[in-house]
């Protein structure tokens, strides 16, 4: 499962973007990613609340689920810090930490 994660906004207005492949993640995080960032889970998370007016300093997260096969299409979901499903936000936080750690590693190399 491949995902492109884009984060923007927040008090710092910072943009952060990275691609993750669950096969490269620690197994526990990979499992949670597959469970909570699946198409079905994200649809449930975003449909449980209609798109609200943005709240001050809430971060937005774009989650692009890349297709398994070349003929497939990219699925895009957007959540923010007010997403009611905590597990989705937990996985996003952990994946962004992975993205930051890898960037740091590349810089050091």
């Amino acid at each position: 499962m491949k995902i492109v994660l884009k984060s923007s906004g927040g008090i710092g207005g910072l943009r952060l973007e990275g691609e993750v492949d669950t096969s490269d993640l620690p197994s526990e995080l990979a499992q949670r990613t597959k469970q909570h960032l699946s198409s079905k889970s994200l649809q449930a998370a975003t449909s449980s609340r209609r798109q609200l007016m943005p709240m001050p300093d809430a971060r937005q997260y774009e989650i692009h689920l890349l297709p398994e096969q070349e003929s497939g299409s990219v699925e895009r979901h957007v959540v923010d810090d007010l997403c009611p499903v905590g597990e989705v936000l937990d996985v996003i936080d952990d994946l962004l930490a992975e993205v930051v750690a890898r960037r740091r590693q590349v810089e050091e190399d």
């Binding site: 906004g9 927040g10 008090i11 710092g12 207005g13 001050p56 936080d93």
Partner: protein
């Protein structure tokens, strides 16, 4: 515990931005309710105008002038979860807990309350003694702090980009000031009105710190979030009101994108139309005004900005409309042709907004 507005829709006027929010969120029934509310609001507004001069937003200030401070803080530990508020760990008057984030949020809320009450005679965010609710330890490695409409939420940071966010008094003051904006008629969090919302929060975030430290405009650093950037980040803060665009330049974060002049206004769809980017322009205007006027920035420049927020009654205000109102408020407070009024106009001119 409920922190819902004490106003029943039948007995009060919902601020226009809230009506707009509900209209966008709601189904056909809610949209119909919004139409009714708007009609009722217009009727009430007309009745008020007939009965008294158009100074409705000053009511809270007048009430607070005679009121005793009613500071009521509640700090919760979210215990690394996303669900708010979490477990209550410190209430008003309780001793320090030993948890630095809990105590920083408690102190930061108190310092912000003090500025608004003592200098602007505003009793809490809603002008009516609303409890100041904060949650710390929100989520895991959470690189953010935000105001969700009823309370503040602070993450611990990931230790790389950010350290714990409640450690910064300017961040606390910033988040609480979003509440002040909300209860002052609001500024829609999109494009220029959203950037004004951000800028107001930055202005009163730095004023909170300056007030506590008794710093003059010349002595202050005019930085937002100087305490929270990770140790290896090449930068001094999240934003600089003195030098927008120069707060950081780092391989991980990129370069601070804030403009200081309308010539560099950033047209973007991300970040709600660049609300954290273009706020650099009104931030710079406030900084220039504070420098021109000298002394403590909360005394003159702060009052001009605060009065503007109370009186503008335009949730979709553009920079030019806001600037125009600041000059009008400077005229009202300090007199026509006063130095304060002329310097307000000049500050806006220097960032590319001619009034």
């Amino acid at each position: 515990m409920s922190h819902a507005s004490p106003c029943h829709p039948m007995h009060c006027i919902m601020p226009p931005h809230m009506v707009e929010t509900v209209r966008m969120r709601g189904d056909a029934k809610l949209r119909k309710m919004c139409d009714t509310l708007e009609r009722e609001a217009n009727k009430a507004r007309l009745a008020r105008q007939e009965a008294s001069p158009p100074t409705a937003f000053q009511a809270h200030r007048r009430v607070a002038l005679t009121a005793q401070p009613s500071l009521q803080r509640e700090i919760y530990d979210a215990q690394s979860r996303a669900t708010l508020p979490g477990k209550l760990v410190r209430g008003e008057g309780d001793p320090s807990t030993g948890d630095s984030q809990v105590d920083a949020a408690y102190d930061g809320s108190g310092d912000t309350y003090k500025l608004y009450f003592e200098e602007y005679q505003r009793d809490s965010l809603d002008g009516n003694g609303m409890p100041l609710v904060s949650s710390v330890h929100v989520r895991r490695k959470f690189n953010n702090a935000f105001w969700n409409g009823t309370q503040m939420a602070y993450g611990d940071g990931d230790g790389v980009i950010f350290k714990p966010l409640a450690d910064s008094l300017t961040v606390c003051g910033h988040e609480l000031s979003h509440g002040v904006v909300q209860f002052s008629g609001g500024l829609v969090y999109q494009d220029q009105s959203g950037a004004l919302n951000e800028s107001f929060a930055d202005v009163f975030g730095v004023l909170t710190a300056q007030y506590k430290r008794r710093q003059t405009a010349a002595e202050a650093d005019w930085l937002i979030g100087a305490e929270i950037l990770g140790d290896d980040i090449n930068g001094e803060a999240l934003r600089s009101m003195k030098e927008p665009g120069l707060a950081y330049d780092d391989p991980l974060l990129g370069k601070d994108p804030q403009p200081f002049h309308m010539d560099f206004y950033n047209n973007t769809t991300s970040d709600n139309g660049g609300v954290h980017i273009n706020s650099g322009i009104p931030n710079q205007a406030f900084y220039l005004l504070a420098q021109y006027l000298g002394g403590f920035a909360w005394e003159k420049a702060g009052h001009i900005w605060y009065d503007t927020m109370q009186e503008i009654n335009n949730p979709r205000a553009t920079f030019a409309e806001w600037a125009d109102k600041t000059v009008e408020e400077a005229r009202q407070r300090f007199g026509s042709g006063s130095r304060e009024m002329l310097m307000t106009r000049r500050s806006w001119k220097l960032v590319g907004i001619d009034i």
